[in-house]
Amino acid sequence: MTPDPPSQTRPLTGLGSKLGTKLGIALPMSTRAGPDYDPHGALRKVSGPTLRPGGLELTVKALSVCGFTQGAKIVDVGCGPGATLKLLTDRGFDAQGVDPSPKYLAMAKAHGQTALGSLTALPQPDGWADGLFCECVLNLAENRSAALGEISRVLKPFGHFVLSDVFALNGPDGTDGTDVTDGPLANIPLVDGTCLGGAVTLPAALDELGQAGFQILFCQDYRAALNSLAAKLVWEYGPEGLKHLPTPKADCRPGAKAGKYTYALIVSQKNG
């Protein structure tokens, strides 16, 4: 064996074919989110405190799109241990983290203001927020429409809604959900090509945002982030590692138990 150059970063190459990067895994169900929702220790070990693909990179990208001014009021729904809340607070925003889990709130408290609440019962008054972050959380909602309505209620007119989540690549009818090059979604600014159980297709998500009164400003695919997290889960825990991804609604959507997924960041703005 010939020693490699003295580098600790090197590519893993070649034992298999180049068929694609889509995930195609049947995922077991997990428990529903609720007041006793426990931090996912196994997931946190590989994802870090954000508990989602991509870490804070997507959060920073969203902030650059939104262009909030200092002191802007921002809600982080499903704040978890408070990684995004810390980032927002450190950047001088009036940020509030909301989560249904007292355990998570106790952890997030060290990073900023927190409040008990959920996607469909936010504690903020009407029109309070300049922005609202919902990172890898909306798929956990039992009623997406109600959640989007509640988010709209809390946002000011023209307030920014940052959504990042897992999206299904295949619709329930087997169609490719990523094809947004035709039809009414053709004008959505989709950059760079474009929690699993509750995932809808990206076109469906863009459509539901439009129906909820949001104008899409930005949409970008981060499939590599999801694949990297899934790969590391398998690396750490073997083929069963994917069970550590939260999938509380795996039984609730046709075709959602097994499928192909991507991860995307969508920034939208509430209509005036």
């Binding site: 150059p5 893993l12 180049k18 192909k260």
Partner: protein
């Protein structure tokens, strides 16, 4: 061809080039557009990393299969 690593007793491996005992190092594994850091035994001097057959045909293969959508 000289081996990069030599087995030196039950304690583990030494680097064949430098003679240094291997230590856990953080390695960025990249495959098909995805990457993540793992801890692997490596030479603290030249950075050469040991991936034994059990790892290559075990966890590493599982990860490759996942990313290749097999």
């Amino acid at each position: 061809m000289a081996h990069a690593f030599t087995k030196e007793g039950p304690k583990g491996w030494n680097c064949g080039k430098c003679g240094e005992p291997l230590q856990p190092v953080s390695v960025n594994i990249e495959y098909m557009g995805s990457s993540f850091f793992v801890q692997l035994p490596g030479c603290p001097k030249c950075g050469t990393t040991l991936i034994d057959p059990e790892l290559a045909f075990g966890r590493m293969l599982e990860v490759e299969k996942l990313l290749e959508d097999k």
